[in-house]
Amino acid sequence: MILDALSVGLLLAGCFFFLAGTVGLLRFPDVYCRLHALTKADNLGLQLVVLGLVLRSDNPFTAGKLILIWGLALAASATIAHLVANLAQREGHSPWTR
């Protein structure tokens, strides 16, 4: 019961961060800010969703696979953010200033 409540709480919190990341992607002014929103908020969202699902998983193998997926997504997102930011900088996108 407590486990269920905790898991639902984590899943909902994860969805909130995904939503926040998506709003940031749509509303932020330049490519660097958007990357920031996507990589930070979405990774936190994914982490919370994975944690929520780990609490619901019925055996340690499923939990392990979920954590592996989370790690892979984290590494891929960091690498891709780096590539995109690198390309944007070389193409002369200057960071947005107030």
Partner: protein, 324 residues
């Protein structure tokens, strides 16, 4: 609970139709490709909702992933070759878009309602597969390699033919850009990408092996494992973590053709042992199928990687060899 699933399903169908329309109707090619990838991902979710995880895996890996990469790669080559400015989208009145979206959602809901009223379709192969104790627990693998071996054999042959056609389409001496200027040799050179690709290799091998082994009694198998392996291979090739193998090497050609060769060998074993090609002899059916799947995993990975990365520049043969 049923109401929630219905809402999710209708949303999923509506989004899929919208993504498909956006992919077809978009005037900007890059946008079309992006929506095609979204469409593939949504299709994978639909297959999952239909309790077809095998098809979902294949759709996500091949339909969205590899096909998307192929299209993006083609787009990059076209733009590099001709420096065409992308076509700008014509602005449309938002009211038309909103009306179209509403009509689509309505149509999807109607289609979903009709689908639920319809009678269940005839079962096809399903009762036969379920009623025949075979060497494979996973009915999908059983159909692919035990019941419908010919189909899979021909699929492997088609894949190999596609690779051969791709190789033949490159005129000698005109290299493919992806093959000659890997990412890390360009200005993108960075430590992070190299680290990521090196870290991914053992994980990719592990996941591909797991999918292959798992394919015997759960969703998975040669196509899914091969695609995962192909993705890692492609990353290693385009980032120059490994050198491109020359298509002239026997090893390269063998890696591409080994799937079809192994399949033909298994067919021959069947012919010898029980009088019909691809009829696996009962005493060795499971090890035979597992071994065939292992070879197919490697061959599919090699073929898919060859399709995406293209064929490296082969310098013309030395004259002394040509004389022979």
């Amino acid at each position: 609970m049923d109401a929630i699933s219905l809402v999710v399903d209708v949303l999923l169908v509506g989004m899929t139709v919208l993504a498909a329309l956006a992919a077809v109707a978009s005037r900007d090619v890059f946008r079309a490709v992006a929506f095609f990838i979204v469409f593939g991902a949504l299709m994978a979710l639909i297959w999952l909702r239909l309790s077809a995880p095998d098809v979902a895996l294949a759709e996500a890996a091949v339909g969205a992933g590899l096909t998307g990469v192929l299209m993006l790669e083609t787009l990059g080559r076209i733009r590099r070759a001709s420096d065409v400015e992308p076509v700008r989208e014509r602005p449309r009145h938002p009211a038309f878009a909103a009306a179209g979206a509403l009509a689509l959602v309505g149509a999807s809901a109607a289609a979903a309602a009709v689908a639920m009223v319809l009678e269940r379709a005839p079962e096809g192969l399903a009762p036969l597969v379920a009623g025949t104790p075979g060497p494979m627990e996973n009915p999908v693998t059983a159909v692919l390699l035990d019941f419908r071996g010919y189909d899979t054999l021909l699929e492997i042959a088609v894949l190999l033919l596609a690779v051969i056609a791709t190789m033949a389409l490159y005129p000698r001496g005109r290299p493919s850009p992806a093959a000659t200027t890997p990412l890390t040799r360009g200005p993108e050179r960075g430590m992070l990408l190299g680290w990521f690709v090196r870290m991914l290799l053992p994980v990719g091998i592990l996941v591909a092996g797991y999918l292959w082994w798992q394919g015997a009694d759960a969703p998975g198998g040669a196509f899914q494992g091969g695609t995962v392996l192909a993705a890692v291979l492609i990353l290693m090739l385009v980032t120059a973590v490994v050198e491109l193998p020359s298509p002239r090497w026997l090893v390269t050609r063998l890696a591409l053709a080994v799937g079809l060769l192994a399949f033909l060998a298994v067919a021959a074993i069947g012919l010898w042992a029980s009088g019909a090609p691809l009829d696996h002899p009962s005493f060795a059916a499971k090890p035979l199928i597992l071994a065939l799947e292992a070879v197919l995993t490697l061959a599919i990975a090699a073929c898919l990687a060859a399709l995406v990365v293209g064929v490296p520049h082969v310098p013309p043969r030395r004259p002394s060899r040509d004389g022979a």
